[in-house]
Protein backbone atom coordinates (compact mmCIF):
# COMPACT_ATOMS: atom_id res chain seq x y z
CA UNK A 1 0.00 0.00 0.00
CA UNK A 2 1.42 3.35 -1.11
CA UNK A 3 0.09 6.49 0.55
CA UNK A 4 1.25 10.03 -0.19
CA UNK A 5 -0.17 13.20 1.32
CA UNK A 6 0.29 16.78 0.13
CA UNK A 7 3.40 15.83 -1.79
CA UNK A 8 5.30 18.79 -3.28
CA UNK A 9 8.48 18.96 -5.29
CA UNK A 10 10.25 22.21 -6.04
CA UNK A 11 13.24 22.35 -8.39
CA UNK A 12 15.84 25.09 -8.39
CA UNK A 13 16.46 27.95 -6.01
CA UNK A 14 15.50 31.58 -5.59
CA UNK A 15 13.61 33.17 -8.46
CA UNK A 16 14.15 30.30 -10.91
CA UNK A 17 12.16 27.69 -9.03
CA UNK A 18 9.82 25.22 -10.69
CA UNK A 19 7.02 23.63 -8.72
CA UNK A 20 6.80 20.23 -10.38
CA UNK A 21 4.39 18.85 -7.79
CA UNK A 22 2.00 21.04 -5.80
CA UNK A 23 0.35 18.91 -3.18
CA UNK A 24 -0.46 15.47 -4.51
CA UNK A 25 -2.50 13.17 -2.28
CA UNK A 26 -3.27 9.66 -3.38
CA UNK A 27 -3.22 6.12 -2.11
CA UNK A 28 -2.45 3.07 -4.22
CA UNK A 29 -3.61 -0.23 -2.77
CA UNK A 30 -1.61 -3.41 -3.38
CA UNK A 31 -2.38 -5.00 -6.72
CA UNK A 32 -3.63 -1.77 -8.25
CA UNK A 33 -2.91 -1.07 -11.92
CA UNK A 34 -2.79 2.70 -12.16
CA UNK A 35 -2.10 4.86 -15.21
CA UNK A 36 -1.02 8.49 -15.03
CA UNK A 37 -1.78 10.83 -17.88
CA UNK A 38 -1.45 14.52 -18.48
CA UNK A 39 0.23 17.11 -20.69
CA UNK A 40 3.98 17.40 -20.99
CA UNK A 41 5.57 19.08 -17.99
CA UNK A 42 2.63 18.36 -15.71
CA UNK A 43 4.81 16.48 -13.22
CA UNK A 44 4.09 12.84 -14.11
CA UNK A 45 7.72 11.71 -14.24
CA UNK A 46 8.56 13.69 -11.13
CA UNK A 47 5.71 12.00 -9.30
CA UNK A 48 6.91 8.58 -10.39
CA UNK A 49 10.48 9.41 -9.30
CA UNK A 50 9.30 10.39 -5.85
CA UNK A 51 7.13 7.29 -5.54
CA UNK A 52 10.05 5.13 -6.70
CA UNK A 53 12.39 6.75 -4.15
CA UNK A 54 14.62 8.03 -6.91
CA UNK A 55 14.33 11.47 -5.35
CA UNK A 56 12.98 12.90 -2.14
CA UNK A 57 9.92 15.14 -2.05
CA UNK A 58 10.34 18.76 -0.97
CA UNK A 59 7.40 18.43 1.38
CA UNK A 60 4.63 15.97 2.17
CA UNK A 61 4.29 12.53 3.61
CA UNK A 62 5.03 9.19 2.01
CA UNK A 63 4.14 5.85 3.63
CA UNK A 64 4.91 2.50 2.11
CA UNK A 65 3.04 -0.27 3.91
CA UNK A 66 2.73 2.10 6.83
CA UNK A 67 6.43 2.86 6.98
CA UNK A 68 7.57 6.49 6.81
CA UNK A 69 9.73 6.59 3.68
CA UNK A 70 10.96 10.16 4.25
CA UNK A 71 12.83 9.08 7.35
CA UNK A 72 14.90 6.41 5.58
CA UNK A 73 18.62 6.74 4.90
CA UNK A 74 19.97 6.77 1.33
CA UNK A 75 21.20 3.18 1.58
CA UNK A 76 17.82 2.06 2.92
CA UNK A 77 16.19 3.71 -0.08
CA UNK A 78 18.64 1.87 -2.33
CA UNK A 79 17.64 -1.42 -0.74
CA UNK A 80 13.99 -0.48 -1.15
CA UNK A 81 14.47 0.17 -4.88
CA UNK A 82 16.38 -3.07 -5.11
CA UNK A 83 13.89 -5.28 -3.26
CA UNK A 84 10.45 -3.69 -3.54
CA UNK A 85 10.47 -1.74 -6.80
CA UNK A 86 11.09 -2.41 -10.44
CA UNK A 87 11.60 0.36 -12.98
CA UNK A 88 10.87 0.45 -16.70
CA UNK A 89 11.83 3.54 -18.68
CA UNK A 90 10.87 4.97 -22.03
CA UNK A 91 14.43 4.71 -23.32
CA UNK A 92 15.00 1.15 -21.96
CA UNK A 93 18.20 2.17 -20.12
CA UNK A 94 20.01 -1.10 -20.60
CA UNK A 95 23.75 -1.28 -19.94
CA UNK A 96 25.26 -1.27 -23.43
CA UNK A 97 28.54 -2.97 -22.53
CA UNK A 98 27.03 -6.03 -20.90
CA UNK A 99 25.00 -8.84 -22.45
CA UNK A 100 21.30 -9.01 -21.61
CA UNK A 101 21.80 -11.84 -19.13
CA UNK A 102 24.13 -9.61 -17.16
CA UNK A 103 21.69 -6.73 -17.47
CA UNK A 104 18.98 -8.77 -15.83
CA UNK A 105 21.43 -10.04 -13.19
CA UNK A 106 22.38 -6.51 -12.13
CA UNK A 107 19.68 -6.06 -9.42
CA UNK A 108 20.47 -9.58 -8.18
CA UNK A 109 24.14 -8.70 -7.88
CA UNK A 110 23.27 -5.75 -5.66
CA UNK A 111 20.96 -8.03 -3.69
CA UNK A 112 23.87 -10.38 -3.02
CA UNK A 113 22.33 -13.41 -4.73
CA UNK A 114 24.78 -16.21 -5.52
CA UNK A 115 26.02 -16.47 -9.14
CA UNK A 116 24.31 -19.77 -9.86
CA UNK A 117 20.95 -18.69 -8.47
CA UNK A 118 21.31 -15.36 -10.21
CA UNK A 119 21.86 -16.94 -13.54
CA UNK A 120 18.98 -19.35 -13.06
CA UNK A 121 16.55 -16.56 -12.24
CA UNK A 122 17.76 -14.24 -15.01
CA UNK A 123 17.50 -17.02 -17.58
CA UNK A 124 14.02 -17.88 -16.41
CA UNK A 125 12.85 -14.28 -16.61
CA UNK A 126 14.35 -13.75 -20.04
CA UNK A 127 12.72 -16.97 -21.21
CA UNK A 128 9.39 -15.73 -19.87
CA UNK A 129 9.66 -12.57 -21.99
CA UNK A 130 10.63 -14.68 -25.01
CA UNK A 131 14.36 -13.94 -25.11
CA UNK A 132 15.69 -17.23 -23.76
CA UNK A 133 17.69 -17.81 -26.94
CA UNK A 134 19.45 -14.44 -26.89
CA UNK A 135 21.08 -14.43 -23.46
CA UNK A 136 24.54 -13.54 -24.70
CA UNK A 137 23.41 -10.73 -26.98
CA UNK A 138 24.28 -7.13 -26.30
CA UNK A 139 21.30 -4.71 -26.05
CA UNK A 140 22.34 -3.01 -29.29
CA UNK A 141 21.71 -6.28 -31.12
CA UNK A 142 18.02 -6.27 -30.15
CA UNK A 143 14.98 -4.39 -31.44
CA UNK A 144 13.31 -1.74 -29.31
CA UNK A 145 10.52 -4.05 -28.25
CA UNK A 146 12.99 -6.75 -27.33
CA UNK A 147 15.09 -4.29 -25.35
CA UNK A 148 12.01 -3.20 -23.41
CA UNK A 149 11.25 -6.82 -22.64
CA UNK A 150 14.78 -7.18 -21.25
CA UNK A 151 14.11 -4.10 -19.13
CA UNK A 152 10.92 -5.65 -17.79
CA UNK A 153 12.75 -8.89 -17.01
CA UNK A 154 15.32 -6.81 -15.16
CA UNK A 155 12.61 -4.94 -13.24
CA UNK A 156 11.24 -8.31 -12.12
CA UNK A 157 14.59 -9.76 -11.06
CA UNK A 158 14.06 -9.39 -7.32
CA UNK A 159 10.35 -10.23 -7.56
CA UNK A 160 9.21 -6.73 -6.55
CA UNK A 161 5.69 -5.86 -5.53
CA UNK A 162 5.56 -2.53 -7.36
CA UNK A 163 6.52 -1.77 -10.97
CA UNK A 164 7.01 1.86 -12.01
CA UNK A 165 6.92 2.41 -15.74
CA UNK A 166 7.50 5.84 -17.31
CA UNK A 167 6.10 5.80 -20.86
CA UNK A 168 7.31 2.23 -21.48
CA UNK A 169 5.75 2.16 -24.95
CA UNK A 170 6.77 5.70 -25.88
CA UNK A 171 9.55 4.56 -28.19
CA UNK A 172 7.79 1.50 -29.59
CA UNK A 173 5.58 0.71 -32.57
CA UNK A 174 2.01 -0.52 -32.11
CA UNK A 175 2.79 -4.21 -32.28
CA UNK A 176 5.60 -4.03 -29.73
CA UNK A 177 3.47 -1.77 -27.54
CA UNK A 178 0.75 -4.40 -27.40
CA UNK A 179 3.28 -7.11 -26.54
CA UNK A 180 4.66 -4.99 -23.72
CA UNK A 181 1.22 -4.12 -22.38
CA UNK A 182 0.25 -7.78 -22.42
CA UNK A 183 3.22 -8.49 -20.19
CA UNK A 184 2.10 -5.72 -17.82
CA UNK A 185 -1.37 -7.17 -17.82
CA UNK A 186 0.05 -10.51 -16.77
CA UNK A 187 2.07 -8.89 -14.03
CA UNK A 188 -1.09 -7.24 -12.81
CA UNK A 189 -2.82 -10.61 -12.75
CA UNK A 190 0.08 -11.87 -10.60
CA UNK A 191 -1.11 -9.28 -8.04
CA UNK A 192 1.69 -6.81 -8.57
CA UNK A 193 1.10 -3.10 -8.19
CA UNK A 194 1.75 -1.21 -11.42
CA UNK A 195 2.08 2.56 -11.82
CA UNK A 196 2.41 3.52 -15.44
CA UNK A 197 2.83 6.95 -17.06
CA UNK A 198 1.59 7.27 -20.63
CA UNK A 199 0.44 9.79 -23.20
CA UNK A 200 -1.68 7.27 -25.08
CA UNK A 201 -5.29 6.70 -23.97
CA UNK A 202 -5.20 3.22 -25.54
CA UNK A 203 -2.37 2.27 -23.24
CA UNK A 204 -4.08 3.84 -20.22
CA UNK A 205 -7.10 1.62 -20.88
CA UNK A 206 -5.13 -1.39 -19.69
CA UNK A 207 -5.14 0.17 -16.21
CA UNK A 208 -7.89 -0.10 -13.65
CA UNK A 209 -7.56 3.51 -12.64
CA UNK A 210 -6.32 6.65 -14.43
CA UNK A 211 -4.98 9.80 -12.74
CA UNK A 212 -4.90 12.99 -14.76
CA UNK A 213 -2.14 15.48 -13.92
CA UNK A 214 -1.99 19.17 -14.78
CA UNK A 215 0.52 21.69 -13.43
CA UNK A 216 1.67 19.36 -10.70
CA UNK A 217 -1.75 18.48 -9.40
CA UNK A 218 -4.22 15.67 -9.85
CA UNK A 219 -7.13 17.20 -11.72
CA UNK A 220 -9.18 14.13 -12.44
CA UNK A 221 -9.40 10.46 -11.50
CA UNK A 222 -11.23 7.82 -13.53
CA UNK A 223 -11.87 4.17 -12.87
CA UNK A 224 -12.07 1.74 -15.78
CA UNK A 225 -15.05 -0.44 -14.88
CA UNK A 226 -13.33 -3.48 -16.20
CA UNK A 227 -9.93 -4.26 -17.65
CA UNK A 228 -10.30 -4.22 -21.37
CA UNK A 229 -7.92 -5.25 -24.00
CA UNK A 230 -8.38 -2.65 -26.70
CA UNK A 231 -8.85 -3.60 -30.30
CA UNK A 232 -5.42 -3.40 -31.97
CA UNK A 233 -6.87 -1.45 -34.91
CA UNK A 234 -7.87 1.56 -32.88
CA UNK A 235 -4.35 1.89 -31.48
CA UNK A 236 -2.86 2.94 -34.82
Amino acid sequence: MIEVKELTKVFGMGAATVEALRGVTVSIPDGDFMAIMGPSGSGKSTFLSVLGCLERPTEGEYYLDGRDVNSLEDDELADMRNQRFGFVFQSFNLLPRHDILRNVEMPLIYAGVSPAERRRRAEKLLTQVGLGERLKHKPSELSGGEQQRVAIARALANDPLVIFADEPTGNLDTKSSIEIMEIFQKLHQDARTIVLVTHEPEIARYAGRVLYFRDGEIVKEEANDELRRPDPDCLG
Binding site: R81, F87, P96
Partner: protein, 399 residues
Amino acid sequence: MNFADLIRIVWDNLKAHRMRAVLTTLGIAIGIAGVIAVVAIGQGGEAAIMSELESMGSNRYFEIGPNYMKNETADSKTFNLQDHVLIKELSPAVEKMAPITLGPMVDLRLPNSKEKPMMATLYGTTPDLLAGLNGSTEQGRFLTDADVTAHSRVAVIDAGIAEKYFPEEGALGKKIFVQDTPLTVVGVMEKSPSSMMQALSSRIVYAPITVAQEMLNTKVISQLCGVAVSEEALPQATSDSLKILEKRHPGVSYMGSTMEEQLDMVNNVTSVLTLIIGAVAGIALLVGGVGVMNIMLVAVSERTREIGLLKALGARRRDIMQQFLGEAVALCLLGGLIGMAFGIGGAFIIALAANWPPLVSVWTVLLALGFSAVVGVFFGLYPASRAASLSPAEALRSL
Protein backbone atom coordinates in the same frame (compact mmCIF):
# COMPACT_ATOMS: atom_id res chain seq x y z
CA MET B 1 28.59 -6.98 -4.67
CA ASN B 2 31.29 -9.65 -4.44
CA PHE B 3 34.81 -9.39 -5.79
CA ALA B 4 34.34 -11.54 -8.88
CA ASP B 5 31.35 -9.42 -9.95
CA LEU B 6 33.32 -6.26 -9.41
CA ILE B 7 36.20 -7.57 -11.54
CA ARG B 8 33.83 -8.62 -14.29
CA ILE B 9 32.04 -5.27 -14.40
CA VAL B 10 35.29 -3.31 -14.32
CA TRP B 11 36.72 -5.49 -17.07
CA ASP B 12 33.66 -5.04 -19.33
CA ASN B 13 33.78 -1.31 -18.83
CA LEU B 14 37.49 -1.01 -19.60
CA LYS B 15 37.16 -3.26 -22.64
CA ALA B 16 34.71 -0.79 -24.14
CA HIS B 17 37.51 1.78 -24.38
CA ARG B 18 40.60 -0.30 -25.00
CA MET B 19 42.68 2.37 -26.68
CA ARG B 20 41.78 4.94 -24.09
CA ALA B 21 42.65 2.56 -21.28
CA VAL B 22 46.06 1.74 -22.69
CA LEU B 23 46.92 5.36 -23.41
CA THR B 24 45.82 6.39 -19.95
CA THR B 25 48.08 3.84 -18.34
CA LEU B 26 51.15 5.07 -20.21
CA GLY B 27 52.19 7.56 -17.56
CA ILE B 28 51.89 4.97 -14.83
CA ALA B 29 53.74 2.44 -16.97
CA ILE B 30 56.65 4.80 -17.49
CA GLY B 31 56.82 5.60 -13.80
CA ILE B 32 56.75 1.97 -12.73
CA ALA B 33 59.20 0.88 -15.42
CA GLY B 34 61.54 3.58 -14.19
CA VAL B 35 61.22 2.55 -10.58
CA ILE B 36 61.81 -1.13 -11.25
CA ALA B 37 64.68 -0.67 -13.67
CA VAL B 38 66.39 1.84 -11.44
CA VAL B 39 66.00 -0.17 -8.27
CA ALA B 40 67.24 -3.27 -10.07
CA ILE B 41 70.19 -1.45 -11.58
CA GLY B 42 70.94 0.15 -8.25
CA GLN B 43 70.76 -3.13 -6.39
CA GLY B 44 72.77 -4.97 -9.03
CA GLY B 45 75.44 -2.29 -9.11
CA GLU B 46 75.55 -2.08 -5.35
CA ALA B 47 75.84 -5.82 -5.04
CA ALA B 48 78.67 -5.81 -7.53
CA ILE B 49 80.56 -3.02 -5.78
CA MET B 50 79.91 -4.54 -2.38
CA SER B 51 81.20 -7.92 -3.37
CA GLU B 52 84.26 -6.30 -4.83
CA LEU B 53 84.88 -4.33 -1.68
CA GLU B 54 84.20 -7.34 0.45
CA SER B 55 86.64 -9.38 -1.55
CA MET B 56 89.25 -6.78 -0.69
CA GLY B 57 89.23 -7.67 2.93
CA SER B 58 87.53 -8.79 6.01
CA ASN B 59 85.75 -6.58 8.51
CA ARG B 60 89.11 -6.21 10.27
CA TYR B 61 90.71 -4.74 7.17
CA PHE B 62 91.92 -1.14 6.99
CA GLU B 63 94.02 0.99 4.70
CA ILE B 64 96.38 3.85 5.39
CA GLY B 65 97.16 6.27 2.60
CA PRO B 66 98.17 9.87 2.07
CA ASN B 67 95.41 12.28 3.04
CA TYR B 68 93.86 13.10 -0.32
CA MET B 69 91.53 15.55 1.35
CA LYS B 70 94.62 17.69 1.96
CA ASN B 71 95.79 17.05 -1.58
CA GLU B 72 98.53 14.71 -0.41
CA THR B 73 99.74 12.15 -2.91
CA ALA B 74 102.08 9.28 -2.34
CA ASP B 75 105.71 9.91 -3.20
CA SER B 76 108.92 8.19 -2.23
CA LYS B 77 108.90 9.95 1.16
CA THR B 78 105.36 9.00 2.18
CA PHE B 79 106.13 5.44 3.27
CA ASN B 80 109.23 3.34 3.40
CA LEU B 81 109.82 -0.37 3.67
CA GLN B 82 110.28 -0.25 7.47
CA ASP B 83 107.00 1.45 8.31
CA HIS B 84 104.78 -1.60 8.22
CA VAL B 85 107.20 -3.67 10.25
CA LEU B 86 107.40 -1.01 12.95
CA ILE B 87 103.66 -0.47 13.15
CA LYS B 88 103.15 -4.18 13.63
CA GLU B 89 105.69 -4.21 16.39
CA LEU B 90 104.50 -1.09 18.20
CA SER B 91 100.72 -1.44 18.06
CA PRO B 92 99.16 -4.43 19.80
CA ALA B 93 95.98 -3.77 17.82
CA VAL B 94 97.60 -4.44 14.45
CA GLU B 95 97.93 -8.07 13.46
CA LYS B 96 99.08 -7.81 9.88
CA MET B 97 100.35 -5.04 7.70
CA ALA B 98 101.54 -4.97 4.12
CA PRO B 99 102.80 -2.13 1.95
CA ILE B 100 101.74 -1.89 -1.68
CA THR B 101 103.68 -0.57 -4.60
CA LEU B 102 101.26 -0.34 -7.44
CA GLY B 103 101.87 -0.86 -11.13
CA PRO B 104 98.46 0.03 -12.45
CA MET B 105 99.06 -0.83 -16.09
CA VAL B 106 101.81 -3.30 -16.77
CA ASP B 107 102.33 -5.43 -19.85
CA LEU B 108 101.94 -9.12 -19.32
CA ARG B 109 102.98 -11.80 -21.80
CA LEU B 110 104.30 -15.32 -22.13
CA PRO B 111 107.93 -15.90 -23.06
CA ASN B 112 108.50 -16.13 -26.83
CA SER B 113 104.94 -15.09 -27.50
CA LYS B 114 104.08 -12.95 -30.51
CA GLU B 115 100.69 -12.12 -29.07
CA LYS B 116 99.86 -8.65 -27.96
CA PRO B 117 100.67 -8.33 -24.26
CA MET B 118 97.71 -8.11 -21.95
CA MET B 119 97.23 -5.28 -19.52
CA ALA B 120 97.45 -6.17 -15.85
CA THR B 121 97.82 -4.58 -12.45
CA LEU B 122 100.97 -5.31 -10.52
CA TYR B 123 100.79 -5.40 -6.74
CA GLY B 124 104.24 -5.25 -5.19
CA THR B 125 103.64 -6.38 -1.62
CA THR B 126 104.54 -8.64 1.28
CA PRO B 127 103.02 -11.90 2.61
CA ASP B 128 100.71 -10.07 5.01
CA LEU B 129 98.48 -8.86 2.18
CA LEU B 130 96.95 -12.31 1.88
CA ALA B 131 95.21 -11.82 5.22
CA GLY B 132 93.67 -8.63 3.95
CA LEU B 133 92.36 -10.20 0.76
CA ASN B 134 89.24 -12.25 1.22
CA GLY B 135 90.67 -15.26 -0.47
CA SER B 136 93.52 -17.68 -0.63
CA THR B 137 95.67 -19.40 -3.18
CA GLU B 138 94.09 -22.12 -5.21
CA GLN B 139 97.38 -23.58 -6.38
CA GLY B 140 100.86 -23.18 -4.96
CA ARG B 141 101.54 -20.56 -2.33
CA PHE B 142 101.42 -16.84 -1.71
CA LEU B 143 104.53 -14.65 -1.41
CA THR B 144 106.87 -15.30 1.52
CA ASP B 145 109.20 -13.11 3.56
CA ALA B 146 112.09 -14.95 1.95
CA ASP B 147 110.81 -13.91 -1.47
CA VAL B 148 110.82 -10.29 -0.34
CA THR B 149 114.24 -10.24 1.27
CA ALA B 150 115.88 -12.31 -1.45
CA HIS B 151 114.30 -10.27 -4.27
CA SER B 152 113.00 -13.53 -5.73
CA ARG B 153 111.61 -13.14 -9.19
CA VAL B 154 108.37 -14.92 -8.41
CA ALA B 155 104.75 -14.04 -8.95
CA VAL B 156 101.32 -15.03 -7.75
CA ILE B 157 98.68 -14.60 -10.44
CA ASP B 158 94.93 -14.60 -10.23
CA ALA B 159 92.64 -17.21 -11.67
CA GLY B 160 91.75 -15.12 -14.70
CA ILE B 161 95.32 -14.90 -15.93
CA ALA B 162 95.97 -18.55 -15.20
CA GLU B 163 92.91 -19.54 -17.21
CA LYS B 164 94.00 -17.43 -20.16
CA TYR B 165 97.67 -18.41 -20.33
CA PHE B 166 97.74 -21.88 -18.86
CA PRO B 167 94.32 -23.28 -19.51
CA GLU B 168 95.40 -26.92 -19.38
CA GLU B 169 98.87 -27.56 -18.14
CA GLY B 170 98.79 -25.65 -14.81
CA ALA B 171 100.61 -22.43 -14.12
CA LEU B 172 102.97 -23.39 -11.32
CA GLY B 173 106.63 -23.14 -12.26
CA LYS B 174 105.86 -21.41 -15.59
CA LYS B 175 107.43 -18.13 -16.53
CA ILE B 176 105.56 -14.98 -17.40
CA PHE B 177 106.96 -11.65 -18.51
CA VAL B 178 105.88 -8.59 -16.58
CA GLN B 179 107.23 -5.40 -18.16
CA ASP B 180 109.80 -7.69 -19.85
CA THR B 181 110.97 -9.06 -16.53
CA PRO B 182 110.58 -12.84 -16.31
CA LEU B 183 108.83 -14.03 -13.15
CA THR B 184 108.19 -17.61 -12.08
CA VAL B 185 104.61 -18.39 -11.11
CA VAL B 186 104.52 -19.85 -7.61
CA GLY B 187 100.82 -19.47 -6.86
CA VAL B 188 97.40 -18.93 -8.34
CA MET B 189 94.69 -17.09 -6.42
CA GLU B 190 91.26 -18.66 -6.19
CA LYS B 191 88.51 -17.38 -8.38
CA SER B 192 86.60 -14.42 -7.04
CA PRO B 193 82.94 -15.23 -6.38
CA SER B 194 81.80 -11.93 -7.86
CA SER B 195 81.29 -11.78 -11.60
CA MET B 196 81.94 -8.05 -11.45
CA MET B 197 85.28 -8.70 -9.83
CA GLN B 198 86.14 -11.17 -12.56
CA ALA B 199 85.14 -8.81 -15.28
CA LEU B 200 86.79 -5.67 -14.06
CA SER B 201 89.76 -6.48 -11.90
CA SER B 202 90.78 -10.03 -12.43
CA ARG B 203 94.11 -9.32 -14.08
CA ILE B 204 96.26 -8.97 -11.01
CA VAL B 205 99.85 -10.09 -10.51
CA TYR B 206 101.32 -10.12 -7.00
CA ALA B 207 105.11 -9.89 -6.74
CA PRO B 208 107.50 -9.27 -3.84
CA ILE B 209 107.56 -5.53 -3.21
CA THR B 210 111.33 -5.43 -3.59
CA VAL B 211 111.12 -6.95 -7.04
CA ALA B 212 108.20 -4.76 -8.08
CA GLN B 213 110.08 -1.61 -7.05
CA GLU B 214 113.02 -2.65 -9.21
CA MET B 215 110.77 -3.48 -12.16
CA LEU B 216 108.85 -0.25 -11.94
CA ASN B 217 111.97 1.69 -10.99
CA THR B 218 110.22 3.44 -8.11
CA LYS B 219 110.39 3.71 -4.33
CA VAL B 220 106.82 4.91 -4.03
CA ILE B 221 104.55 2.93 -1.72
CA SER B 222 101.01 4.02 -2.38
CA GLN B 223 99.36 2.61 0.71
CA LEU B 224 99.56 0.26 3.66
CA CYS B 225 96.98 -2.48 4.03
CA GLY B 226 96.40 -3.73 7.55
CA VAL B 227 94.36 -6.23 9.47
CA ALA B 228 93.44 -5.52 13.09
CA VAL B 229 93.50 -8.23 15.76
CA SER B 230 89.74 -7.95 16.11
CA GLU B 231 86.89 -5.92 14.71
CA GLU B 232 86.69 -3.94 17.98
CA ALA B 233 90.39 -3.12 17.73
CA LEU B 234 89.94 -1.63 14.27
CA PRO B 235 89.73 2.05 15.37
CA GLN B 236 92.70 1.52 17.68
CA ALA B 237 94.71 -0.11 14.92
CA THR B 238 93.96 2.74 12.54
CA SER B 239 94.77 5.52 14.97
CA ASP B 240 97.94 3.77 16.21
CA SER B 241 99.14 3.43 12.65
CA LEU B 242 98.45 7.07 11.89
CA LYS B 243 100.27 8.21 15.07
CA ILE B 244 103.33 6.13 14.38
CA LEU B 245 103.50 7.25 10.77
CA GLU B 246 103.08 10.92 11.61
CA LYS B 247 105.92 10.68 14.14
CA ARG B 248 108.19 8.93 11.64
CA HIS B 249 107.37 11.23 8.73
CA PRO B 250 106.78 14.71 10.14
CA GLY B 251 104.97 17.01 7.73
CA VAL B 252 103.10 14.25 5.91
CA SER B 253 99.38 13.92 6.51
CA TYR B 254 97.80 10.47 6.44
CA MET B 255 94.33 9.11 6.58
CA GLY B 256 93.00 5.72 7.40
CA SER B 257 89.91 4.11 6.04
CA THR B 258 88.19 0.93 7.05
CA MET B 259 86.08 -1.45 5.07
CA GLU B 260 83.05 -0.19 6.87
CA GLU B 261 83.73 3.41 5.92
CA GLN B 262 84.11 2.45 2.30
CA LEU B 263 80.87 0.50 2.37
CA ASP B 264 79.18 3.47 4.00
CA MET B 265 80.45 5.70 1.23
CA VAL B 266 79.07 3.42 -1.45
CA ASN B 267 75.79 3.23 0.43
CA ASN B 268 75.62 7.00 0.64
CA VAL B 269 76.17 7.42 -3.06
CA THR B 270 73.61 4.79 -3.98
CA SER B 271 71.01 6.11 -1.58
CA VAL B 272 71.34 9.62 -2.99
CA LEU B 273 70.98 8.18 -6.49
CA THR B 274 67.98 6.16 -5.42
CA LEU B 275 66.42 9.26 -3.93
CA ILE B 276 66.85 11.35 -7.07
CA ILE B 277 65.61 8.67 -9.41
CA GLY B 278 62.83 7.80 -7.04
CA ALA B 279 61.72 11.43 -7.14
CA VAL B 280 61.70 11.41 -10.94
CA ALA B 281 59.69 8.20 -11.02
CA GLY B 282 57.40 9.66 -8.38
CA ILE B 283 56.68 12.65 -10.61
CA ALA B 284 55.95 10.31 -13.52
CA LEU B 285 53.53 8.40 -11.31
CA LEU B 286 51.92 11.62 -10.15
CA VAL B 287 51.40 12.77 -13.72
CA GLY B 288 50.12 9.32 -14.62
CA GLY B 289 47.78 9.40 -11.65
CA VAL B 290 46.36 12.75 -12.67
CA GLY B 291 45.82 11.28 -16.15
CA VAL B 292 43.86 8.43 -14.61
CA MET B 293 41.83 10.84 -12.51
CA ASN B 294 41.05 12.88 -15.59
CA ILE B 295 39.87 9.89 -17.58
CA MET B 296 37.79 8.69 -14.64
CA LEU B 297 36.08 12.07 -14.41
CA VAL B 298 35.33 11.78 -18.11
CA ALA B 299 33.94 8.30 -17.51
CA VAL B 300 31.74 9.54 -14.68
CA SER B 301 30.22 12.30 -16.77
CA GLU B 302 29.84 10.01 -19.80
CA ARG B 303 28.07 7.45 -17.68
CA THR B 304 26.00 9.69 -15.45
CA ARG B 305 22.77 8.26 -16.79
CA GLU B 306 24.07 4.75 -16.30
CA ILE B 307 24.99 5.55 -12.71
CA GLY B 308 21.45 6.78 -12.17
CA LEU B 309 20.15 3.54 -13.58
CA LEU B 310 22.39 1.41 -11.35
CA LYS B 311 21.08 3.34 -8.38
CA ALA B 312 17.52 2.74 -9.53
CA LEU B 313 18.35 -0.96 -9.63
CA GLY B 314 19.45 -0.83 -6.02
CA ALA B 315 23.15 0.05 -6.10
CA ARG B 316 24.19 1.56 -2.82
CA ARG B 317 26.65 4.38 -2.56
CA ARG B 318 29.38 1.88 -1.78
CA ASP B 319 28.65 -0.23 -4.88
CA ILE B 320 29.13 2.72 -7.21
CA MET B 321 32.19 3.82 -5.30
CA GLN B 322 33.71 0.35 -5.62
CA GLN B 323 33.00 0.15 -9.31
CA PHE B 324 34.70 3.41 -10.20
CA LEU B 325 37.56 2.95 -7.75
CA GLY B 326 37.98 -0.53 -9.18
CA GLU B 327 38.28 0.92 -12.64
CA ALA B 328 40.88 3.46 -11.57
CA VAL B 329 42.89 0.81 -9.73
CA ALA B 330 42.61 -1.58 -12.66
CA LEU B 331 43.90 1.12 -15.01
CA CYS B 332 46.83 1.79 -12.72
CA LEU B 333 47.57 -1.90 -12.24
CA LEU B 334 47.49 -2.36 -15.99
CA GLY B 335 50.01 0.46 -16.25
CA GLY B 336 51.98 -1.14 -13.46
CA LEU B 337 52.09 -4.47 -15.28
CA ILE B 338 53.13 -2.91 -18.57
CA GLY B 339 55.73 -0.86 -16.75
CA MET B 340 56.92 -3.94 -14.91
CA ALA B 341 57.50 -5.83 -18.15
CA PHE B 342 59.56 -2.99 -19.56
CA GLY B 343 61.34 -2.32 -16.28
CA ILE B 344 62.41 -5.94 -15.81
CA GLY B 345 63.43 -6.19 -19.45
CA GLY B 346 65.51 -3.05 -19.12
CA ALA B 347 67.11 -4.23 -15.91
CA PHE B 348 68.12 -7.53 -17.51
CA ILE B 349 69.58 -5.86 -20.58
CA ILE B 350 71.64 -3.47 -18.50
CA ALA B 351 72.76 -6.21 -16.12
CA LEU B 352 73.82 -8.24 -19.13
CA ALA B 353 75.78 -5.34 -20.57
CA ALA B 354 77.39 -4.39 -17.28
CA ASN B 355 78.02 -7.98 -16.30
CA TRP B 356 76.46 -7.89 -12.89
CA PRO B 357 73.67 -9.94 -11.41
CA PRO B 358 70.20 -8.90 -12.65
CA LEU B 359 68.58 -8.23 -9.31
CA VAL B 360 64.82 -7.85 -9.70
CA SER B 361 63.54 -8.77 -6.29
CA VAL B 362 60.01 -9.96 -5.70
CA TRP B 363 59.72 -7.10 -3.26
CA THR B 364 60.45 -4.49 -5.89
CA VAL B 365 57.78 -5.95 -8.11
CA LEU B 366 55.20 -6.21 -5.35
CA LEU B 367 56.06 -2.74 -4.15
CA ALA B 368 55.68 -1.30 -7.64
CA LEU B 369 52.33 -3.00 -8.15
CA GLY B 370 51.17 -2.04 -4.70
CA PHE B 371 52.22 1.49 -5.37
CA SER B 372 50.32 1.69 -8.64
CA ALA B 373 47.25 0.37 -6.84
CA VAL B 374 47.66 3.10 -4.24
CA VAL B 375 47.96 5.67 -7.01
CA GLY B 376 44.74 4.27 -8.46
CA VAL B 377 42.90 4.52 -5.16
CA PHE B 378 44.20 8.00 -4.48
CA PHE B 379 43.35 9.47 -7.86
CA GLY B 380 40.20 7.41 -8.29
CA LEU B 381 38.71 8.49 -4.99
CA TYR B 382 37.46 11.87 -6.11
CA PRO B 383 35.82 10.73 -9.38
CA ALA B 384 34.33 7.70 -7.65
CA SER B 385 32.83 9.70 -4.80
CA ARG B 386 31.44 12.13 -7.34
CA ALA B 387 29.76 9.26 -9.11
CA ALA B 388 28.51 7.75 -5.87
CA SER B 389 26.92 10.94 -4.59
CA LEU B 390 24.85 11.65 -7.71
CA SER B 391 21.13 11.72 -7.06
CA PRO B 392 19.50 8.84 -8.95
CA ALA B 393 16.68 10.85 -10.50
CA GLU B 394 18.96 13.65 -11.59
CA ALA B 395 21.50 11.22 -13.02
CA LEU B 396 18.75 9.44 -14.96
CA ARG B 397 17.59 12.73 -16.47
CA SER B 398 21.03 13.54 -17.86
CA LEU B 399 21.69 12.66 -21.47
